[in-house]
Symmetry: C2
Subunit: 479 residues, 2 copies
């Protein structure tokens, strides 16, 4: 870690983010432009995200599998809007084993096509349905403007792919997985996301309906943090995924896909981080607490380290992910700053006075200075630490929710709209079309993020066209 300070978020949010990702050792740039190395601290965060989502996927009946990285280029061309959406972004393998390939292969940008091909082989009858499969992998999309975690040539994600007998079941699955994402985002990542449906122009290439969860970052911009697509029968028809139904007729399946990626790490950084660095939600933090020993001489050191050994064991036994920072030659102050920058939710200080008084000092990452500091009795410390971690988790969600709500403005005119998107989201009655969305984007750089599932229920006049509208939409500039 360098001792140099980060730029503040107010000074330069973008640069604050870029420096923080590198200095907290979450990720690094790879030799190939736009590719990313996820370093151990960042990967540990992603592993916790994976474990938490994977549990939810399995609880809703999904199984994991692995489909191939390389896809015949012709596969993408079978679904018209899919190829239109993805062909500008493909990485293409043309040489294998020193020979020019007869058919070029693409490195998967997403796997609807190759999985559709497999499902066509595997699915015979209604008895085989639903098929509920997920895979954890990386995909490659040739992006021009990249940013660590948010948009990289290769990124890590999960992609769920399911096949159903009816439209209704597919739609139910699409919505169920959106709920799973929202539940995860709110309760694990402390991100108060807005679940909604995308407009036609923001749909996934090949989907009939795309749902997403949208989060507001610390600069008021939006980040699409997970998507769930009802693919209708588009891929079933392109890949001939048919089944023999109860009524003896062969029918095309209805399929869905849904994905959440390492972008979510970017969301956690940009929603919870402050000018000192990361602030990680306890439920996902690689280390929930760090113990920093404080001592001036060898006698004190021996005394303190002995007390810490028991403390660490007790916290680990209580299931708390605790790190002991016993590095030599570094001052406690340096360590405090270091772990603050890395966003560890709780710091536990143990010095000779604490040993004598049978106490430890707890310092909350989310509340700097004295306000966030408490001395608790050594006896029963695990319960106190657990309770404090729960408090921090709740406080992060409450703070992010308040921040978001303060920056969502209900607007009725284009002028108000333009002002609103300078600092956050604009919410408005909407009855426009794709052409109008395009015009708004060109003029303001804001896009229609979603039509939230939760609607006021009344009607209003579209803020642009004045036409009667039955739904409100959320617009924002987005990452």
């Amino acid at each position: 870690m360098s001792e140099q300070k980060l730029p503040t978020r107010a000074e330069d949010f973008n640069e604050w983010y870029n420096q923080l990702v590198i200095r907290a050792e979450l990720a690094d740039y790879a030799p190939v432009r736009g590719c990313m190395i996820v370093r151990p601290y960042g990967w540990a965060l992603w592993e916790n995200i994976q474990a938490s989502l994977d549990q939810r996927f399995k609880a809703t009946g999904h199984l994991n599998a692995a489909f191939p990285l390389l896809i015949p280029k012709s596969f993408l061309e079978r679904e018209a809007s899919h190829v239109e959406g993805f062909s500008p972004e493909l990485a293409v393998v043309t040489i294998g084993g020193n020979k020019e390939l007869e058919e070029p292969l693409v490195v998967r940008p997403t796997s609807e096509t190759v999985i559709g091909h497999a499902y066509a082989k595997w699915i015979r009858s209604y008895r085989d349905l639903p098929v509920l499969i997920n895979q954890w992998c990386s995909v490659v999309r040739w992006e021009l403007r990249t940013k660590l975690f948010l948009r990289t040539l290769e990124f890590f994600w999960q992609e769920g792919h399911t096949a159903h007998a009816t439209f209704e079941e597919a739609e139910e699955e699409t919505r169920r997985m959106l709920e799973v994402y929202a539940d995860f985002a709110v309760h694990e990542a402390a991100l108060p996301v807005i679940p909604g449906i995308k407009s036609e122009s923001e749909r996934f290439a090949g989907a009939d309906r795309t749902y997403s969860i949208e989060a507001m970052m610390g600069d008021g911009k939006a980040l699409q943090s997970g998507t769930s697509h009802n693919l209708g029968q588009n891929f079933a028809k392109a890949f001939d995924i048919q089944f023999l139904d109860r009524d003896g007729e062969r029918k095309f399946c209805w399929t869905t896909s849904w994905g959440l990626s390492t972008r979510l790490v970017g969301a956690i950084i940009m929603v919870h981080g402050d000018d000192q660095g990361l602030v990680l939600p306890p439920r996902l933090a690689p280390f929930q607490a760090v113990i920093v020993p404080i001592h001036k001489n060898d006698d004190e050191r021996a005394q303190v380290m002995e007390a810490i050994a028991g403390l660490q064991r007790e916290l680990m036994a209580a299931g708390i992910r605790v790190k002991l920072d016993a590095r030599d030659g570094l001052t406690p102050g340096f360590k405090f700053n270091d772990w603050e920058m890395r966003g560890v939710p709780l710091r536990i200080e143990v010095g000779p006075k604490d040993v004598a008084k049978q106490t430890v000092a707890l310092a909350r990452r989310d509340r700097p200075g004295k306000e966030g500091k408490a001395f608790v009795a050594r006896d029963g410390v695990a319960a106190a630490v657990s309770a404090t971690l729960n408090d921090i988790q709740a406080a992060l969600l409450a703070k992010a929710t308040a921040f978001r709500d303060a920056r969502i403005r209900d607007v009725t005119t284009y002028d108000d709209f333009k002002e609103a998107i300078e600092t956050g989201f604009a919410r408005a009655w909407w009855a426009g079309d794709a052409a109008l969305e395009r015009q708004i984007k060109e003029e303001t750089k804001a896009t229609l993020r979603c039509i939230p599932l939760e609607q006021p229920g009344a009607t209003g006049a579209c803020f642009m066209t004045g036409r009667p509208a039955t739904t409100q939409a959320i617009f924002a500039r987005a990452y």
Copy 2:
């Protein structure tokens, strides 16, 4: 599942394997030649392998991370023997975003180069060492003759990459990870592997020393099931991985790498499988036990299913991975065969008589017929199931060990050698060189699998040259 019988292993071991992999739904062929889809049942097995290894990696101080899939082609050329070994097998991306790339990129065949590049950036001083990182990913090698799990264009694995201050530490790490692999293979996969060192001609391209664990398959052939490489300073010099030592001097690091792949699934199939299908070791099996209800009418059904609900809860609470096969319209006999084919270690039958007598029937997969069947009291059933699973695990290891030992022959002449490798491994005093290994391979198709770490300690005459030899080597035909 088709009702058609598998060929027996004696009839056609190869075909038995190929059909079993498909019919047990472990894996399937992908549209691209030589690529593999790992289906949910196979992936669940791999996830258990991953979890078990990952725990061991973390317990020995390793952290996970993720390095990029795409590597500049020039990187491979920096280490002379590395490029020589891998260049015939590369998949090359030449087009990105519809444009010809200035420098072609290879899809990683292994990651020493790109990780070496990162380590050169990250490592500054002896304080940064050792660096102990692992990644779980897939790699691509353009193989010509492929076989599901054993040799595919893309395969799934973990690759550990570490950097150290001294040769001794690197060698210690290389050996430690070999031990981790051997411990895992023996205690989790019930594979009695032989840990040893490779001859120069079988070394990893770029390594100073390669160690491996070698397993004997059900047809007597060998399968290299995990490798650990001491890379010396070869990659450190090629990628300039230097550190400032305690003595104030800049020195090159010593690096290692070690990997274990989805080949291990192939080993489990070929070591434990029998003519009825898979036999999975309980510690890795996706389902350790399957409950099959037996009933003739609705009354019986209600009674049996109620008893099973409690049974299932109790087994799950005891941490047993249990599956209930409640499929309608299939006979118990069909289900028995199906789960036998899929290798579930223990079948639990519950019929009306069992409900009345408060018993359940346990049928062991590894002991067909009456010999493997026992009726146990419903009370305390979880303990009985756990104990039986432990017995099965031990029995599989004992059986595989006995099979292996009976097929390792100590040979002193080339004629004996040729006979030995028809059915298993030949073990012999060895003082030959690479040219002689090549000759043996051409004449017999057998290769030097390893020089086992465990040696008799005496000396003997090389079975080929007659020269005095201090070590014995193991030769076999190999997958």
